[in-house]
Amino acid sequence: MAKFVRLIDTKRCMGCRSCMAACAAENHFTPDAQWNAMIEYEVGTYPTVHKIYNTMNCMHCERPSCKAICDHIGVKAITKNEFGVVLIDYNKCIGCGYCASVCPYGVPQMNADKLQPLYPGKGLNGAENIAYADRHPTHQKKAKTAEKCTFCWHKLEKAIKDGKTDRIGKDQDYTPACDLVCPTQARWFGDLDDPKSEVSMRIKATNAVQLKTHFGNGPQVYYTLDKGAKS
């Protein structure tokens, strides 16, 4: 069974935010509920200072605390499937915000009382033009519910249906939008269980690490850290 992971190379990332824009268009962000964010900070001491660009999205943890708490209170709106992808069922979510409060990475976003397009009053953007009923379930967002990055599950699901899981991380139709558009090749996506996959080899070659391992969640997003970068 494949285990999908992402590698983000902070040595290569130049902070252009193409990944954020691609995710916004693909997954039609709602205002204040982005699935992918850029965090930037400075490290070093003058005159040898430099900037670190660290994009954050859902870590699709091995032991997701969001799912644990959701199950614990009996809502069971969060699942982790056999490919390691953590998903929220908007029809089951009661909007309590517990998942957001326990995530060590601050990932789940709570939708406002009323859903709005990304640019209110300025028309629709990207996938917002797709009729609500025609959207993938992960895009049928609801007010007062939690949402987050799905590893572009609609694309991975398509690859699985088409029997093309070997093309995940390579073909446009089967690869998460953010990973496709990176102009500096700072993002890689693929199967960690395949030792010959690009992502596996790069994780190993660059000594990539997971963030905040002291929480014990086992995140499935790896980072190649630039000098001085936080983990």
């Binding site: 999205n57 943890c61 032991r63 309590c96 060590p104 601050g106 002291h214 929480f215 014990g216 936080k230």
Partner: protein, 131 residues
């Protein structure tokens, strides 16, 4: 000699009762044994507490989450909300604004680890990812 239908059912019932009795006896013995041995195995485990969850889950100040931590766990608001956030690796904007944390009280997840420590049993009450 023929056995009537009702006699058969009485015999079957009696047999079932016998099986049930022996099962009950075995379960009781196992329970007693496990209770007797529990202290030996639980020396390193955190004490398990049965928490009472009532009301609709809510993050409101007077909601279930805060009630549980404040009233049952006897935590003061400042225990979670009065620290300046040093960790900025949070996706949600509100959680990584350190000054805002001090001003408006976003809780640093690191504080949760005081009780919700990883490394214990996944289904235990004291792991961060096991609740």
């Amino acid at each position: 000699m023929k056995t009537t239908h009702s006699e058969v059912s009485v015999q079957v019932d009696a047999g079932l009762i016998g099986v049930k009795r022996s099962k009950t006896l075995m379960v009781s013995m196992a329970l007693g044994l496990s209770l007797a041995m529990a202290p030996a195995f639980s020396a390193d485990a955190p004490p398990k507490k049965k928490m009472s969850f009532t009301g609709k889950p809510s993050m409101a100040v007077d909601g279930r989450f805060h009630k549980l931590h404040e009233k049952q766990e006897k935590l003061d608001c400042a225990d979670c909300h009065d620290k300046v956030q040093e960790d900025i690796l949070y996706l949600r904007k509100d959680d990584r604004m350190s000054q805002k944390l001090a001003d408006e009280g976003q809780a640093d997840r690191k504080g949760c680890l005081t009780c919700h420590k990883p490394g214990y049993k996944p289904d235990g009450p004291h792991s961060f990812w096991g609740v």
